[in-house]
Subunit: 779 residues, 2 copies
Amino acid sequence: MATLADIGVAAAINIISALIFLLLFAILRLQPFNDRVYFPKWYLKGLRSNPLSSGAFVSKIVNFDFRSYIRFLNWIPAALQMPEPELIDHAGLDSAVYLRIYMIGLKIFVPIAILSWSILVPVNLTSHGLQLAKLRNVTSSNIDKLSISNVERGSDRFWAHLVMAYAFTIWTCYVLMREYEKIASMRLAFLQSEKRRADQFTVLVRNVPPDANESISENVEHFFMVNHPDHYLTNQVVYNANDLADLVAEKKKLQNWYDYYLLKYTRNKEQRPRVKLGFIGLWGKKVDAMDHYTAEIEKITEKIMVERTRVMKDEKGVMPAAFVSFKTRWGAAVCAQTQQTKNPTEWLTEWAPEAREVYWQNLAMPYVSLTVRRFVMHVAFFFLTFFFIIPIAFVQSLASIEGIRKSAPFLNPIIEKKFIKSVIQGFLPGIVLKLFLMFLPAILMMMSKFEGFVSISALERRAAFRYYLFNLVNVFLGSIITGSAFEQLDSFLKQSADQIPRTIGVAIPIKATFFITYIMVDGWAGVAGEILRLKPFVIFHLKNFFLVKTEKDREEAMDPGQIEFYATEPRIQLYFLLGLVYAPVTPILLPFIIFFFGFAYLIFRHQIINVYNQEYESAAAFWPDVHGRIISALIISQVLLIGLMSTKGKAQSTPFLVVLTICTIGFHRFCKGRYESAFVINPLQEAMIKDTLEKAREPNLNLKRFLQSAYIHPIFKDEEYEDDRSEELLEDSDDENCVVVPTKRRSRRNTAANSSASGGSTPSLPFNRPDTGKEKSES
Amino acid sequence: MATLADIGVAAAINIISALIFLLLFAILRLQPFNDRVYFPKWYLKGLRSNPLSSGAFVSKIVNFDFRSYIRFLNWIPAALQMPEPELIDHAGLDSAVYLRIYMIGLKIFVPIAILSWSILVPVNLTSHGLQLAKLRNVTSSNIDKLSISNVERGSDRFWAHLVMAYAFTIWTCYVLMREYEKIASMRLAFLQSEKRRADQFTVLVRNVPPDANESISENVEHFFMVNHPDHYLTNQVVYNANDLADLVAEKKKLQNWYDYYLLKYTRNKEQRPRVKLGFIGLWGKKVDAMDHYTAEIEKITEKIMVERTRVMKDEKGVMPAAFVSFKTRWGAAVCAQTQQTKNPTEWLTEWAPEAREVYWQNLAMPYVSLTVRRFVMHVAFFFLTFFFIIPIAFVQSLASIEGIRKSAPFLNPIIEKKFIKSVIQGFLPGIVLKLFLMFLPAILMMMSKFEGFVSISALERRAAFRYYLFNLVNVFLGSIITGSAFEQLDSFLKQSADQIPRTIGVAIPIKATFFITYIMVDGWAGVAGEILRLKPFVIFHLKNFFLVKTEKDREEAMDPGQIEFYATEPRIQLYFLLGLVYAPVTPILLPFIIFFFGFAYLIFRHQIINVYNQEYESAAAFWPDVHGRIISALIISQVLLIGLMSTKGKAQSTPFLVVLTICTIGFHRFCKGRYESAFVINPLQEAMIKDTLEKAREPNLNLKRFLQSAYIHPIFKDEEYEDDRSEELLEDSDDENCVVVPTKRRSRRNTAANSSASGGSTPSLPFNRPDTGKEKSES
């Protein structure tokens, strides 16, 4: 077990690396040529169009104003200054609520840490358990003196820990309830204050039953005319444009290449660039690159035209789903919340997601397929969680010296070199695992897509849930009980129900130092790395150099990125779990957690204000999940404490803690009943109020025109747009990414591209990531 | 272990006792003076007013027509003749669907038995496991030769059992799905064909928030006027009439006594009956009984008047709940299915239950109280299930010789007598347990009432669910692993997850003979006892002698009873469980189960046609529960087979069976999604169709008048009625139960009485039972 000094060293290393990141950031962000990397949000908002300093060419790239270097830390107060209402205005409710997750961490753990240090640490310190143990030659460090390990077996001092467990639970529940209440009211206020939006009037109808005599559109129209006679307004069918989307993505890629060669030619007019036609340009006939791509683009444009006509005309091109719009919000709210026919698998209605949040590919899934897919994904996730180590081990074995020797003998001379050998042996297995973990959120996202959710926020929430489970099993439990998840599963199956918490509980105090190190590496240095934005930094400058011709191109080369809820939130949850589990056991861990929450809050507030640009707004629909996971962390911590106590000769405390657990579950159910519906349902009263206000303000509103084309597959909007300019393109060879039109158009294109890849199974998402923000242009 | 001969003897005993019951029934039911005991349904329907035979006085009491004795078994074909649609018409959908539970038992188990006997029995018989075991001195009987015990450890013959497990599961699921589909369509057709009923237009609103300036009624009116402007029609507030109901019940009791003494006086005019005023009439001043009760009744009538005025006038007499009626079924369906305000704990709407099904006492519970109550009841039920043996053992110890000696020394001389001693030692402990088990459904019903469900059918369903769990733990598991449930729980907690199915699995084949005996005692003789109706028989004749003066009184003294869903369905489920568990293990059990289902079907069909009179109609709302419990029996059987197989050296079959279990769970989820909503929700399309039809047929219908007083607390209806005749009562001293008015009045009074007792905690329900049917008079 590590000593205080060991931890001090580790802390120093991590604090220094974090400081280096921060220093680098402080310097880089002051350079005008990085302005678009570190302040893209302001550009997208149109509030900034050029780096702040102006003057000579050099000073446009490097900042020579030394006064600004002196104030290099002033981003910190700046990040904290913006008040929350303004933040919601600036970045949306999702972002503001996301920040509150960090804040809730502080709210929970600061009082818990104070209590814990003022009561439990003295209790632990003045005990003599370790001295007694030392007599039996059990080694321990001075950290253990602060932890529960120092209390004698069966001592009455454990009641202090038990009472504290109650206090911590009560405090956590109190904070959680306050927060749930606050966020529910924030969400309702946000929805209420929003201007008129198509999704307020629209319901997504799925599984429209086929009718021999009518088209889908007619069928939908007749059905709602009859069953919602006073409220039905119009409907838009959903075209199956997946193939079309593929073609458009292909065209975009070709245009990228065209632009690249064009730029190359512009810079060096003497030689027209040439390209080989064979496999990824490595061999084959050489042709003039620009002519080649012009021809290819023309070809594919034609294909797109044909496909588009086919989709629009072909009966099979229409999916059995539609967006049905109503005259009033009340009508839409009613339709979304009710069952239409006696067959609950037909005419399924739900509140339509925002148009840019719709995941179009999944709209056509029939009910049975959904059940089967969901089931298959549950099974797949089970195997992924418990057996992921098997393929990893296989790849690692391939990536070992022996493996390479066998599978690629021609590499023998290279790998025999000592340096390369040590690299392979030392790093490759680790890198394989690291790569898998990097791609894991993307893999889970693909699984969610396969499951058939129709809105991006639902996809993200499902992926986040699975990522949380994976972390819980493989990071948390996997670190406590060393061994693969599968071995754990096996040993759990063979252990009795009351033995499992003991096995884990007894290991908890021992692993405290490991987790302290983990928090510092992942939570401190990792978060500091986030602010540096290394990947977008590199990619922006590469694009800037190779593709950018106009100011507009530069705009599009920016990658503001966004909060990847499904990848980040489950990792925050790990800190809640660690904090709650260790609060009564090893209070020394708490300051590290508190520092993480405070630091991350600061960093992410800065990023949200200056960098991130959310693709969609779900109005904090994720909160019930966040709340639920903190509660489950609380319950896990209680069960593990039961286990720990029973190994400490305090088995009689079990009923005392079981009552606490049951009360916590009761609290969860109460919160669920009380607040959750605010995140799922649109209440009629609210809808009626908005309807009435609107009717009074704009009695002659033509709603139908407003709603007519709100839910057109984004590809058609793009298409129209691309068609308009397809000649223009060949004439003046404008760039491919075009004007920043202040609409929502194309904001979903990157998702479309991803999902077409999800049919395959390459983890394409992270690779697309750099392009994510490029097309976002609503502000 | 019992031999075939043992079982033969047990079967003979039970068949003989069943035959004796049937014979007694056949004779008793032919006696005219029993006509009202065995054919009350026909009297209530008004299709029979006098025993069939007429003639001399004696032949009105005893049947001397010997021809009818020869045909004494002809009730059997008669019970089977009535076709199902007519049965639904005659007894309601609930009863018809209840019969289908027995039918589904036959549908599932007849093919399974055939398959099992033609494949598994030969496989088992031709094995030699027991011969080998005999060499090691393990005793066994010839029944075991037919069971899985006879197959050698690790033999490949077990694959036959595994494949059969698949076949049984697939068949069971197929039957279940067909049945679910059929019953869902029956329910919808039934609801659709029903004539206009108040509950189709009405929504129950609970948790109306208080308003300082408005009464509840005004508040409700304004809220729905605003939020359902096109559909709102009227509302009826709910009065807190619990005290009033108590007074009315008290009055009724007094009148019963009055009637009793009056009749006594009429029969013996010489002496006016006198009564002592002290403790239960044992001592105190003697007064004239009739005068005394007349005065008492007058007093209480006055009290009732005062209380009634108070309830109607007092603001606090109005509960924060209301029945809100709409102009159309569509409007009601919308309101019931939607959330009204952003606070999901206020203005809670749900489809109103039938007026006679409302459980009035629970209408006023606030949301938090509901959560707490539900939670408390969960905990209480947990303790009831696992620790019920503790108070029972305590009472048993009191009821033992030693206990009586200590607590009541003055009884010493009596209990010293040998006969009484042996009775106490032999019977009393058993009787205490039996009494507890008899009252258990009533106790569970009281728990449901405490939980705050507002409709009788919901109360019954919850009680049934709990009773099922109790049976599962204490009867099924308790019989397999001998020992109290608490000991089981303890040993389960200390066993590993994969050890538990083994422990149970290995005990299953051994317990087959025990369960065969159980089926014969509980299922054969018990069901035959049902048709005899011993309790109603005795009570009817007692009442007939002591209270009945007019033909009307006789009508009211009848106790048709009804299917006690919460008490009987969970017991049927035990047979499903036994059948499915033993089908692959000990096929010899199946014929016994099949006989039970067939016999019970016959008996209950007869009872439903001739006797039972349901208090309310829930249109088979209980089916999802029945379905779910059969599925869970299936899953239990699979898990136990896994356990059994792994003790039989076939642990490698575990994945094979786990897949089956997972598929079964998947099937359950599919069925839930596909069919369950038909039992919960009123789809808009159906509502619209009925609305449209009605509008076309009766364009000038005055719906408001129809709905105005549909949901008045039954006590007020009674009250008005009683007031009308309160003078009349004192004049001509008519009996208290009065005319059979063809309305729904007072149909819920007995429940009202119960629930007021549920505040106490005496298991009052079974005692009220005999009076249950007395007040039902709608036909």
